[in-house]
């Protein structure tokens, strides 16, 4: 689906990531598709859904993460290329 987008929020610390993930799925019609822990306390949560929903969800998640812990980065890819799915665990279908 071309209107599908993926959103990513990276936090330092598990609690902030969990709080952000909860805020994201509550804020809009999105699904959590992946959770990456790269070490050093960095945890990334990946969501997917419609572009507007993903933008709204990352907005809410980022705000929550910065209140609870430390927010590292937020990003939205509106129309991810199909090739991404071959190498990353993002369901951008």
């Amino acid at each position: 689906m071309s209107s599908t987008a993926i959103g990513m929020i990276e936090t330092k610390g598990f609690v902030a990531a969990l709080a952000a993930a909860d805020a994201m799925v509550k804020a809009a019609n999105v699904t959590i598709t992946d959770r990456q822990e790269v070490g050093d306390g960095l945890i990334a949560v990946v969501i997917s859904g419609e572009v507007g929903a993903v933008k709204a969800a990352t907005e809410a998640g980022a705000e929550t993460a910065s209140q609870v812990g430390e927010l590292v980065s937020v990003h939205v890819i509106p129309r991810p290329h199909a090739e991404l799915g071959n190498h990353f665990d993002v369901s951008a279908k």
Binding site: K55, T58, E59, A62, A65, Q67, E70, S73, V74
Partner: protein, 176 residues
């Protein structure tokens, strides 16, 4: 009889003033005699005052001749000096009752020449955010208060906030 003569003289004076006002300042100078009668001080001042085109503001020029009733002055304001000059020119215009009436009635108008001057990003007061998420709400608040945003190294701008900042024209600087 003397009262009817006085009345006639007053009516003649009033008609002369009205005609002078309608004809404009240049023809009024020829039409109306320079009298110092009390009943119509504005007309007297309009006739005796020098023409406002001699005010000599460097940043402004007349587009239409002063004989026309509706005038539009082109004003070029590029910096503080021009603005100051224009304000003084406006004061000089206001001392002339004819010009004052024209200004109040909208017959004398101004237009900016050479493009509009925009407020540069550095003229705005800055709001600094060091840590945490910079959300759409904060950008909207900054736009309403006319501020620019300075983000510290650990501040994170959300995609929605970035879009809103672009739409509202809020300058955002990110420190590296």
């Amino acid at each position: 009889m003397s009262t009817s003569l006085d009345l006639r003289a007053v009516i003649a004076d009033v008609v002369r003033e009205v005609v002078a006002d309608l004809a404009g300042p240049t023809t009024a100078a020829h039409a109306a005699p320079p009298y110092a009668a009390a009943p119509a001080p504005p007309a007297v001042a309009a006739v005796s005052a020098p023409s406002q085109s001699t005010a000599g503001v460097a940043g402004s020029e007349h587009v239409s001749p002063p004989q026309l009733r509706e005038r539009v002055e082109a004003v070029r304001i590029t910096d503080d000096t021009d603005l100051d000059r224009f304000a003084r020119h406006l004061l000089a215009l206001f001392e002339n009752p004819k010009n004052r009436q024209d200004l109040k009635a909208g017959r004398l108008r101004f237009r900016l020449e050479g493009g509009t001057t925009t407020v540069t990003a550095h003229d705005r007061p800055a709001q600094r955010i060091d840590t945490g998420a910079v959300t759409e709400r904060q950008v909207k608040a900054a736009a309403e208060s006319g501020r620019r945003l300075i983000l510290g190294r650990r501040a994170v701008l959300t995609p929605l906030a970035r879009e809103r900042a672009r739409a509202l024209g809020v300058p955002i600087e990110k420190e590296r």
